[in-house]
């Protein structure tokens, strides 16, 4: 081997490590930026929910119009539903950096709170909308569950588009180890996910049931 080629393996290795590590670092920064976007989204949603919470409390305290309270809850539920879908896509793309499970857990607890608010509103003002709570597994790797969730989600999107004024759709991740959510699921006998709970009475857990979901929403 000629002298000029004697150290070529080390040279290539050092160069490869340097360039590759730079690439991985850049990738990590990019993902971190994404993660920050997600956290910001969660924080905004959290603020919005606290806002709604205060508004509904204020409405209840001052006996204000149920319509106004209902509108607040509705608009927020709509926003959280869209955010949830966006966040899921972001989360899925992160490979190098940590996930945002804690933020997600907090977010889900707040959405569970939204559900309770909706129940309270229905109690006080009479049934104003159908409560549709969608339980799913966050960041699942199981292909079958993922495919099922995708179809459940698409079906709910269709329903949301056609019955937007009469249903309140609240997606909640079921696998984040939250005691209160686990308790709620046990209370309503939700054994597997994905599952849809309609007005705290009807469960939709299978594809067959999903096909006829409209009949439960009437």
């Amino acid at each position: 081997m000629e002298i000029k080629n004697k150290h070529i393996f080390w040279e290539a290795l050092i160069l490869a490590i340097f360039i590759f590590a730079s690439g991985v670092f850049l990738g990590y920064l990019l993902e971190l930026n994404r993660t920050n976007d997600i956290i910001t989204l969660y924080q905004n949603s959290e603020l919005n929910l606290l806002d709604v919470q205060l508004q509904t409390d204020f409405i209840a305290l001052n006996n204000l119009s149920c319509d106004i309270a209902s509108n607040y809850i509705f608009s927020f539920a709509e926003k959280t539903y869209q955010d949830a879908r966006l966040l899921e896509k972001y989360d899925d793309a992160n490979k190098l950096s940590r996930g945002v499970i804690l933020q997600h857990k907090k977010y889900d607890l707040l959405r569970a709170r939204l559900w309770l608010n909706a129940l309270d509103l229905n109690d006080r003002c009479g049934k104003r909308f159908v409560n549709v709570v969608y339980f799913y597994n966050y960041n699942t790797k199981d292909i079958e569950t993922k495919a099922k969730q995708s179809i459940f989600s698409n079906r709910l999107s269709e329903i949301k588009a056609s019955l937007s004024d009469s249903i309140l759709l609240i997606p909640i991740a079921a696998n984040l180890g939250s005691d209160s959510i686990n308790y709620m699921m046990a209370e309503y006998n939700i054994g597997s996910v994905p599952a849809i709970l309609i007005d705290e009475k009807t469960k939709v857990e299978t594809i067959d049931q999903l096909k006829n979901i409209e009949q439960y929403l009437k």
Partner: protein, 408 residues
């Protein structure tokens, strides 16, 4: 971090390292790429052409041999290895027309044994083994023999390219042969050429005799002989400016069989020389590990691809099934929101780098494929052609496990 992204990253790093190694070798040695030692002595040469059912090409091969501009060719042996066609008759017809042309008719015993038997009759200082469908260019020998002035050089190989270049498969092989020739030449600069292809190899007779000729049990006797020479400390050289053309398979089945045979021979060599890994000279430190890595890198890549593709396929199947069963739309606008992962970007960058590398190599090799055709062939070569390689390796592994080491 999950396990699979770690595998992706490791795979990408190894590929990137090998690409950088190749580029560094090129930039440090590009002046010497097409050069060859000055001819100081015309060493005597014996040529061996082993043949099996080559009645269509053998006469032209002999003509090309006698057309070579070299004055010290002592003898040309055509070894008919029990052909079932008229190879022997075709040679007999021209036997008297050429000086020192000798025909050896023998029972079929395989290529390696045919060469070994003939080697005992050779008197030249150098021995050239030429496939019966390979044509050496006129100046090739004069460019190659200079390397033997270095007494440690045991074998010299030339650039081999396909002669038939009409069909897509043939054109893809042109790209492949050129890229292989380029990288093989670069490997010379680190004493790591791992094969003197059977199409045309020039050997120092003493070196061949020292290793006992070609291994009759190995179906790629050319790879085995090169490894044996390298293990014994002989240097292997490549003359990129000396050319040989050969007939390449123009149909998928023979192409597949050829590649499977190469992979199987490679496995045999790895098995035979595995104990030399990280021992001895560059043979143990680079040739065997590099060859093994090259063989299995494709396999790992294919396993990753099949895993990802399999999951996607299963997922699509389940989605379609559930969609039909629930009368739900398969896709909606949310499904079109794409957030690629960083690993997708890395993969694309790596693919792009290899694409640029191949274009660069073909331009260095002055390949007309770049002038005459669109980049379709090159893209097809990178994305489809190279993807088939691991399948041949799997087939070879199955053959190897079943001990089906058949030559033809």
């Amino acid at each position: 971090m999950e396990f699979l992204p770690f595998v992706y990253l490791a795979y990408m790093f190894v590929s990137f390292y090998l690409l950088l190694l190749t580029l560094l070798l090129y930039f440090k040695n590009k002046q010497a790429l097409f050069s060859h030692p000055k001819l100081t002595k015309e060493y005597s040469i014996s040529i061996i052409i082993p043949t099996y059912n080559e009645e269509k090409t053998i006469v032209d091969t002999i003509k090309s041999v006698y057309n070579i501009d070299y004055s010290n060719i002592k003898e040309v042996f055509v070894v008919n290895d029990g052909s079932k066609d008229n190879t022997s008759l075709a040679v007999r017809k021209i036997l008297n027309k050429y000086k020192n042309l000798k025909l050896i008719d023998k029972e079929n015993s395989g290529k390696a044994d045919s060469i070994n038997q003939t080697l005992k009759k050779c008197t030249g200082e150098l021995v050239v083994v030429l496939d019966a469908d390979s044509y050496a260019f006129k100046e090739s020998f004069k460019k190659m023999v200079g390397y033997f002035d270095d007494e440690k050089v045991g074998a010299v190989t030339a650039m081999c390219t396909p002669r038939n270049r009409s069909t897509l498969l043939e054109k893809l092989q042109v790209i492949e042969y050129k890229v292989i020739a380029f990288t093989r030449k670069l490997l010379e600069f680190i004493d790591s050429i791992y094969v003197v292809p059977g199409t045309a190899g020039m050997y120092r007779r003493k070196a061949l005799e020292e290793i006992g000729g070609f291994d009759t049990k190995n179906i790629t006797e050319d790879i085995e002989a090169t490894w044996h020479l390298a293990k014994n400390g002989w240097k292997i050289r490549m003359c990129l400016s000396a050319s040989v053309t050969t007939e390449v398979p123009n149909k998928l089945k023979p192409w597949y069989r050829q590649r499977r045979r190469w992979a199987l021979g490679g496995l045999q060599c790895i098995s035979k020389y595995k104990s030399y890994i990280f021992q001895n000279n560059m043979f143990g430190y680079f040739i065997v590990p590099f060859f093994t890595l090259g063989l299995f890198l494709g396999l790992i890549g294919m396993i990753i691809f099949l895993y990802v593709f399999g999951r996607r396929f299963l997922s699509s199947y389940l989605l379609t099934r559930y969609s039909l069963e629930s009368s739900t739309a398969l896709l909606n606008m949310n499904n079109f929101y794409i957030t690629p992962s960083i690993l997708n970007y890395f993969g694309l960058i790596l693919l792009f780098l290899f694409f640029i590398f191949n274009i660069y190599v073909l331009s260095i090799m002055k390949d007309r494929i770049l002038e005459k055709q669109s980049f379709f062939n090159l893209i097809f070569y990178m994305i489809v052609y190279l993807m088939v390689y691991p399948f041949t390796l799997i087939a070879a592994m199955i053959h190897y496990a079943r001990k089906k080491n058949v030559w033809r």
